[in-house]
Amino acid sequence: MVGKNCFAIASDRRLGVQLQTIATDFQRIFKIHDKLFLGLSGLGSDAQTLHQRLVFRHKLYQLREERDMKPETFASLVSAMLYEKRFGPYFVQPVIAGLGEDDKPFICTMDSIGAKELAKDFVVAGTASESLYGACESMFKPDMDHEELFETISQALVSSIDRDCLSGWGGHVYIVTPTEVTERILKGRMD
């Protein structure tokens, strides 16, 4: 979700196989660099592998270009990597959030074969995505500061995942401003 010169990215913490819960502290949001975060929903194994491949590509980019990747460029990279597997795709839906040139917030999501969806306000992904669309649409206001943004994204996340049987066990929220990154854990219906 985009705020005023900041952004927030949040996920639930459940890792499950249909009805069985495997882990209640699963990390779904990964830091690529200080101003770029990637959330990967979907198949856990594909999320981890895709993240590792992206770290590989980003580190080489950093060494050669001597700077961090811009969020827009990173989104194009993810999209290209997903389309490479067009006929045997990764079962993930990425959510990319970062601060680009002049610390302007950038967010986007894509489907599992790399179709980018850019948005100015919020992007959602996962099993509770329809519920999240509704919650975000009603709760979102433009130009929120980071405190208000945290409240908004937390409420939207918790209310949606509590109603979804495959998501849950609390939430993990990152608020990123040009100067700092705050990480918070939320408590929801612990089921």
Binding site: Q52, R53, V55, F56, K59, L60, L63, R64, E66
Partner: protein, 249 residues
Amino acid sequence: MSRRYDSRTTIFSPEGRLYQVEYAMEAIGNAGSAIGILSKDGVVLVGEKKVTSKLLQTSTSTEKMYKIDDHIACAVAGIMSDANILINTARVQAQRYTFSYQEPMPVEQLVQSLCDTKQGYTQFGGLRPFGVSFLFAGWDKNYGFQLYMSDPSGNYGGWKAAAIGANNQAAQSMLKQDYKDNISREEAVQLALKVLSKTMDSTSLTCDKLELAEVFLSSSGKVKYEVCTPDALSKLLVKYGVTQPPAEA
């Protein structure tokens, strides 16, 4: 000198030498020198910049020092275009290891892997060897800080202090005399600058003719590779009394 045996890289001479490899080392002997010193809390790399025209506008910030991964850096001496290829290879090898094992590549393994690549060019393919020598500086959790030197033949060795490039023998013998085990990083910087100033050909020693980089552990325990800024470098040169003003004897 048996000239008839030196046109192919992949054959020995009657005396059991590989001439192409030796000629490659000759090429490096004319290049800008680099010195590496291992200290108990870090590794210091100093390099002499050969190209110092004001008109030069480089795309990268350094000419002699390159970062291979977060925990490994290297200094080069020799043909820069060959060096660029090998540095890229080293970077990809380090990332490939991290992708497979999800941990940083041990320094010696990276050096060995790169040297295996270099050795390949002395045994098959009919291509000439790379005309570069490297000084690798890095840290891993198995052996702490390490310094390795490698040459075009693909040989490598771990060193406490090493020199490559022009006047490397003079530099090496000076290092042998003055190096003490357990020196601190600061003393290593001082020693490196002193030795380089004595072996460099140029008449004036200013911060734009040198590059200094260090690999050390930051206060949070993470490995850091830092290149010294030109201002800080000038201050160090004055502090250690090795600066010589330009256009004055």
